[in-house]
C-alpha cells in the first residue's frame, strides 16, 4: 500500500521562465512533514502556482532539488499518481467540453485512491449537476467540482491552488468541514494556497504550517502557532493602548495620530528587538477602543502592567501576520 502522506523537502528551488527577467521562484528552501496541512500565502505573482506546479511535476525546476516522499517527482509514476493539484477551474485535467459525470469517470479510471461514493456525496452536498458540461458551470460550481475531485482523489499529496477562494461562504465552510473530517480518516499532506490575508484567518484553524511567498522568495516557513507567538495584539482604551505601546516598544512605534502603518518595520525574525523598529501589523479603532497588532511579543514583565491598564494582550491573528509578510513594503524575512 502506498504511503498515505508524502513529505516535501525543497532546497534552493529556483524556477526561471525562458524569456523572463526575474525568477518566478528564487532559492526557496523548506520542508513539510507528512500529514501536515500547509497554508501557502502570497499575493498574485508571488510564485504560489509555480511552486505547486513543480510539486505536481507539471514543470521542471531550473535549479535546486525537489523531493516528494524522498524522490524527485518529475516523471515519477508513483509520485505523480499520488499527487493531485486543483485550481478553481478544476485543474489542467478538466476538459471544458466534458460533462461533470465524465470528469469523475476519468478520475476514477486514473486515481488509485478514488472514492466514488464520497465523490457522489460531495457533488450532492455542493449541488453540482452531474449531467452539465463543465464549461456551462458557473465559476463557483466549477470550484466546487474542483474541491470534490481533490477530496475524493485522496492523493497522498493534495494541492489546492485557490479553488476554495472561489467558493461562496456556505460552500467554503462545507469544504473546510469535509477536509478536516476526511483528513482524520485519510491522513495526507495538504497544501492550501491563498492569495489574500483574509483566507489566512479562515484557514487558521486548519493549517499546521505557514509558508509566505513574495516575488518568488520565501519570507516565512514556520508552524502557524510559532508565527502567532511572534507577535501580540493589544486591545483596550485607545489612550491606554498608545501609552502602553510607547512605554514598552518605543515612542515612535505609533505615530501622533495613532495610525501605525502596516509593514513599517522588521518582523523581528523571532527576536524581540523592540524600539522604533517594531512593526505594526494592524491598527484598528472602534469607538474609544483600539486594537494594535505588533510583530513582537509583549515581554513577560510587561504583562502585569498591561493587566493593570485594562488591556487585553493576545496572540496575533494569522491574517495580520500574513498580510504584513506578503506586503510589498516588507523589507526583511521573518523566521
Amino acid at each position: 500500500m502506498p504511503a498515505m502522506a508524502y513529505g516535501i523537502d525543497i532546497a534552493g528551488l529556483t524556477v526561471r521562465h525562458r524569456g523572463g527577467t526575474a525568477a518566478a521562484i528564487d532559492d526557496v528552501t523548506f520542508s513539510v512533514a507528512p500529514g501536515r496541512i500547509c497554508g501557502l500565502f502570497g499575493r498574485d505573482g508571488a510564485g504560489k502556482s509555480t511552486l505547486l506546479a513543480v510539486l505536481a511535476a507539471y514543470r521542471r525546476p531550473s535549479g535546486g532539488t525537489v523531493r516528494v516522499d524522498g524522490e524527485d517527482p518529475y516523471e515519477n509514476a508513483r509520485l505523480m499518481s499520488g499527487t493531485c493539484l486543483v485550481d478553481e477551474g478544476g485543474g489542467i485535467g478538466i476538459e471544458a467540453s466534458t460533462k461533470v459525470r465524465e470528469v469523475l469517470e476519468i478520475a476514477e479510471m486514473l486515481r488509485p485512491n478514488w472514492d466514488p461514493a464520497y465523490a457522489e456525496a460531495l457533488l450532492e452536498r455542493f449541488e453540482v449537476p452531474r449531467e452539465q458540461k463543465v464549461d456551462a458551470l458557473a465559476r463557483g460550481r466549477r470550484a466546487r467540482l474542483a474541491v470534490t475531485i481533490a477530496l475524493a482523489s485522496r492523493a497522498p499529496l493534495t494541492l489546492f491552488d485557490e479553488p476554495h477562494l472561489a467558493l461562496d461562504p456556505p460552500s467554503r465552510q462545507i469544504f473546510y468541514d469535509e477536509l478536516r473530517a476526511d483528513l482524520d480518516r485519510w491522513p495526507r499532506t495538504v497544501v492550501l494556497a491563498g492569495a489574500a490575508a483574509d483566507e489566512a484567518d479562515e484557514t487558521a484553524s486548519l493549517v499546521d504550517d505557514v509558508l509566505v511567498l513574495r516575488r518568488g522568495r520565501l519570507l516565512a516557513a514556520a508552524p502557524a502557532a510559532r508565527l502567532r507567538s511572534l507577535g501580540s495584539e493589544i486591545t483596550g482604551p485607545a489612550d491606554a493602548v498608545a501609552a502602553f505601546v510607547a512605554e514598552t516598544f518605543g515612542a515612535r512605534v505609533l505615530d501622533a495620530e495613532g495610525g501605525g502603518g502596516i509593514g513599517s518595520g522588521d518582523t523581528g525574525g523571532g527576536g524581540t528587538g523592540g524600539g522604533a523598529g517594531t512593526a505594526v501589523l494592524a491598527d484598528r479603532r472602534v469607538g474609544r477602543l483600539r486594537s494594535v497588532v505588533l510583530a513582537e511579543p509583549v515581554p513577560e514583565d510587561r504583562l502585569a502592567e498591561a493587566d493593570r491598564a485594562g488591556l487585553d494582550v493576545g496572540p496575533v491573528p494569522l491574517r495580520d501576520f500574513v498580510a504584513h509578510l506578503s506586503s510589498d513594503d516588507q523589507r526583511e524575512a521573518a523566521p
Binding site: R18, S62, N76, A121, E124, A181
Partner: protein
Amino acid sequence: MTDFARSTESGSQSGAGAAVEPAPRAGRASGGRPSLGNTGAITSVGSLMWMGVLWLVVAVIFAIVLGVLAATDGSLDHSLWQRAVAGWQRWILLAAGVTMTTTFGPMLVGNGATRARLASASAVAMVVLALAGSLFITVGYGLEGLAFDGLGWRHDLRDGQDLDGAAGYARLGAGYLALFAAYFASGWLIGIARGVLGSDDFVVLIPPAVVPAAVAELLLMRDLAGLPFGGRGFGWVPEPAYPVGMLAVVAAVVVAALVARRATRALTFPLGTPRPAD
C-alpha cells in the same frame, strides 16, 4: 459504462441539492491507475467519440446522395466514395494526432499520469484510430461496390483501376492504415511542438513534423488511394513498389513515435505557460 457512471446516473435522478448532510465517512477507494490500458482507452475512446459521430454523419450523407442518384436514374462510373469521402479523412487523423497533446495531455498528466505514459497512450490511439479509419474507408468501398453492382454501374477508381477482390481490399485497407497512422503521427508531432514551444514559435517545427505524412503521400499507392497531392506536381517522384513504400511509411511512423515520446518529456503544464529556463 463504469459502475460509477451508473451510480451517478441513478443518483442524478434524485435531484441535486436535496441533501445537505455530511458526506459518508465510510467510503472506500476503488479507483484505477494510469496504466497503459486505462490511458490508452481514454485517448482512443475519447477520440472515437467525435470521430465516430463524424463518420456516421458522413456515411448517412453519402448514402442519401447515392440514393438520390439511383432514384433519379443517374449513373456513375467511378467511385464516389473515393472522391467525396476517402480523400479528406487523413485530415481527421491529423487533427486527432494534435489533440493527443492539447486535450489528452492535460487530462492524463493532470490526473497523475507521467508524460511517458501520455506518449504510450497516444501511440495506442494512433494504432486504434488508424485501424478504425482504415476499416471505415475499406468497408465504405466495399458497400459502395455492392451498391454499384446492384445498380449495374462500373466501380472503378479515379485512374480506372479496379479493386481486385479481397486481396485488393486488403491492400487498400493496409495502405490507408499506414497513411492514417502517418498523418496521425504528423499531427501528434505538431501538437507536441505547440505544447513545448508555444503557439508562436512552434511553426518552425511544422516542416519536420509533416515528414511522416509527406512520406506516405509520395511513396505509398498514390494511384490506388487517390492521394490529393501525389501525382499533382509530384509525378516526377518515382513511386516505389507497394511493399517498399509501406515499409518506408512504417519506418517514418516509428521514428515519429520515438521522437514524440522523447519530446513529450519536455512538455510543461498547463500548456501555454512559459517554459523553464535551464
